[in-house]
Subunit: 227 residues, 2 copies
Amino acid sequence: MNKKILRRCRLFAGLDDAALERALSLLAAREQSYVRGEFLVPVASPMPAFGLVLEGQVQVLRDDRDGHHMIMANVGAGDTFGESLAYLGRLSPVYIVAVDACRVMWLSPARLADPASLADADVAALSFRFTSMLAARALAMNDRIQILSQLTIRSKINALLSQFAAQSGSDSFALPFDREDMAFYLGTDRSALSRELGRMRREGLIDFKGNNFTLLSPDFRAASDGM
Amino acid sequence: MNKKILRRCRLFAGLDDAALERALSLLAAREQSYVRGEFLVPVASPMPAFGLVLEGQVQVLRDDRDGHHMIMANVGAGDTFGESLAYLGRLSPVYIVAVDACRVMWLSPARLADPASLADADVAALSFRFTSMLAARALAMNDRIQILSQLTIRSKINALLSQFAAQSGSDSFALPFDREDMAFYLGTDRSALSRELGRMRREGLIDFKGNNFTLLSPDFRAASDGM
DNA sequence: ACATTTGCGTTGCAGTTGCAACAAAAAATG
DNA sequence: CATTTTTTGTTGCAACTGCAACGCAAATGT
């Protein structure tokens, strides 16, 4: 049952059981459980390993100079955190907290970050997967930056929906967010988001029910044809 | 003179001349010049190589469904673009334009993305550098996301200045932006930024002249001590 | 079936901010 | 040094949006 979740992660996707075992051993995998509210990683601590959430959810948080703490990311089952820090051996500028009771697998990139050990074919294959994971994450962060850079809520919504439409190849699709997560992802207020979504629906630009969205506007189509 | 610029990039930093030559050959380096306004990469095209700007500046742009194009990034000398796309072999969702006349070195990650060739020690060493570059970029993007996620301009300014203060180890430092770039980086309007900077100066929170900023507030210190 | 929790939409309000247009200052050019 | 160009600050205005509070409906638990 663990394996199923592990394979949802790009790092392990498509590996057969034997290869998965080898990969886990190369990464010195070990599991650990946490109770709700527990700190997985305190701020300014070394990160010898990165985490893969097997169950539950963790939050990556960061504090400002003025004491406010802000959510950097929500990490759910099958998702990872801290790969870059662990790979570079940096101290963590963030701290990590269990939202629910959760189970995390810790994976050490030490072998991957040692050029000498890449001579081993297994390590090389895993390194390729790891780098691909980083690259994919960079692209995902790029998408998020594009959205967050928009100046108005409406533009943010448009940017988000455009991305999902492009990605799903259809003008109807489901978002993997509830409204609160969606507002957080857009960097805005939940109620303001609801208000703007309602406005856009009244204007006939979009339709939605729960997390199922449909792009309606003929403007949308015209503009994308033009490209 | 090229070498000096190349070594400003994490991928090549600290290499001696011989190693640099080997690295360039492994990456099938080739140079190309562009005139102002020229397209380096059109949208939806394959990216067999990523770019390292040797001279001038390029912009990474992206179009929304509604036809607005937005600046994703400004890339200056010594900086790279498209590594993730090239590594993953994805089609480019963005297009790239020369802001000035510029010279770009194209580098192909094909050897790095092939696990079999990692058996070669030179390739392995370069692969390590490449992955480190990706990881460092991910951290930088994280910083930017933290800033863009702030809900008010003042919080964005605080977040940005805090990061630079922490990074420079001092409360006085120079930003590498002019006001327009700074506003873009913060995802806000230039005039609104000027207004808020002025307000913060009047309140005695910060001081600045040009791009030289100083954090003044005793609040700042008190809050950071608290951590 | 009832009580409780959770998620989502609505609204009043005040402060913020995008926007456009202009003024002032600084830098570049000749 | 004078002139042009670029950068930065200022301001009025309208619209946006964060915020808090509330209502409603669906889901959950007992």
